[in-house]
Symmetry: C2
Subunit: 334 residues, 2 copies
């Protein structure tokens, strides 16, 4: 097999230059890069990245373990991670946590331990103790994004506080009958972060002496989930809440759409507040607790880079900023 | 540096077994895997994947080049690609095509040529001739997802036909004044696929002798984009179309939300048809042309695996299925 020295010699450059040209890391002129790549082609030189990583023990790759990403939060977070990794010349290996127990188990037990990356970012997966142990067993630095951070550096907003502030906003407007849309359903348990949001809702009601009014409606944390749950909730005219806290903006937007379809005016007949400041929140004039998953992606990479440099440093817990954004989906009750 | 032979010897297993245990490819008992991993830990054996790929010239990794993915189509497609790659034990390196000319150029000119993967899937990026040439320069098999497929195997629906069928559906219901929401805007040109959809709309009007009625409204292919464009379009009461073709379901759903806010009933006063069968289409009772980006992801991996096995085989062009899904957002004009 050809070596980097063969390629360098054929192209008439130093080994260091050939390595820069082939790895894409560091400056080489276009003309030189072309000459080196032609030489590599001629010699059928293939495994340059592998050779580099064999020599350095580094793969220049970060593994990202994430649930299916058809949600704004995950898409934004992924974009942030990609931006930061590109700026430090790291590649991203993406591992979607598959649905179904067996393939999920296979990912943690078999696939991840043998794959190539220098560090791992795990997003919102609340791995079981065993899954977490497997990630640690890979021996590579681990950073989580989300409220679950046992044994790793982590970044997320304070989900409990976010839902508490959202609920307090409604209480301060004078609402007493406030429902929470986005509880556990028959089909699915709450995620760890969503469970903390539910706790924040209960906490705010408790502090205001309104706990007896608590009403939690099961709903998937999606627009159709919030739509269906709210349509059911508002169907009973005699027992309608005056306000709704959505577990996330997607559920809250679904609630607004359901209210409009039923001819219930938002905010005069129903106030709705969400959590996220989703890309669509502005279009629905949604009052919400804003957060930036993209910035959290940047922060996760920063934490991981630091841990890869100093594996023995103490773990860090970063609370990402979040704050109330008042638009016009909330008002005092009639 | 320790070798796989050192690890095998310390763990008391064959080199083949040690390799299976560390790569996660092929069967090893839990107990053996643990012993091998302990031995690897003890010996600080790190670069196993790299060593494997140096020996085989294979990285068992596929590069996926994709725009930012905060849209249903890309998220579903990514999920399909991941499912298929997991089933054949390939890793996924994800390269988001960054916004901004300079970082985009850097990705194609410098980053991709030097990175490790056995093949590339490029999604909806309509690379310039130069970008495409750079991808081919990597010397690795290339499959594109989308209508632009110069020189590579490719899969996508027939975008022209999809928009033509959507428009014909409205014409058959009796509509003559049909607007297209999702044309180019000042800020952005149409993507190649969206340009083909616009062509399909024009083609259907032309065939029906209605080309003089064509009205194209610039809009980003998103829910807020469709919402804003439709709000503007419907604002002039004397000149309202009776039907709208959205460039995609997201734009069409934005159009429905805008109509509802203006008190215009869908479908009695305005028919709306989209393209995609987005996860939210059912919630809005949207008539649309359905497609499955997840299946297209599976197909892209199948095409790539075949090309990696036979690099000299002729390129293949697969047209993914799409079909009219009639719900209740379309009706004859009043």
């Amino acid at each position: 097999m050809s070596t980097i020295a063969d390629v360098a010699s054929r192209a008439g450059v130093s080994k260091a230059t050939a390595s820069r040209a082939l790895s894409g890391r560091g400056y080489v002129s276009d003309e030189t890069r072309q000459r080196v790549m032609d030489a590599a082609d001629d010699l059928a030189y293939v495994a340059h990245s592998s050779a580099t990583s064999l020599a350095t023990g580094r793969t220049q790759t970060v593994g990202l373990v994430m649930p299916p990403i058809d949600r704004w939060f995950f898409a934004e977070l992924l974009a942030g991670v990609q931006e930061s990794l590109l700026s430090v010349d790291y590649d991203l290996s993406l591992y979607g946590v598959p649905e179904g127990t067996q393939t999920r188990e296979r990912l943690f037990e078999t696939v991840l331990p043998g794959r190539r990356f220098d560090g791992i970012i795990a997003v919102g997966i609340q791995p079981s103790a065993r899954e977490l142990e497997r990630l640690h067993r890979t021996g590579r630095p681990l950073v989580s994004v989300g409220p679950y951070s046992e044994g790793s550096s982590a970044v997320s907003i304070d989900d409990t506080a976010a839902a508490r502030i959202a609920t307090e906003h409604l209480i301060e407007l004078g609402h007493e009958d406030i429902a929470f849309v986005g509880g556990a359903t028959d089909a699915a348990a709450l995620s760890y972060g969503d469970a903390q949001r539910l706790e924040g809702y209960h906490g705010a009601l408790r502090a205001a002496g309104l706990l007896a009014h608590a009403r939690v409606v099961g709903a998937a944390p999606t627009m159709p989930g919030g739509y269906a749950a709210t349509a059911g909730l508002l169907g009973d005219r005699r027992n309608r809440p005056t306000a709704i806290v959505g577990v996330c903006d997607e559920a809250a937007i679904g609630a607004i759409i359901a209210a409009r379809r039923l001819g219930i005016a938002v905010p005069t007949e129903l106030s709705v507040v969400g959590i996220d400041d989703h890309a669509h929140a502005d279009m629905f004039a949604l009052t919400t607790i804003g957060q930036s998953p993209r910035d959290q992606g940047h922060e996760a990479v920063r934490l991981l880079i630091r841990r890869m440099a100093e594996p023995e440093a103490p773990i860090e817990r970063v609370t990402a900023p979040s704050s109330l954004v008042v638009r016009s989906s909330t008002a005092p009750p009639r």
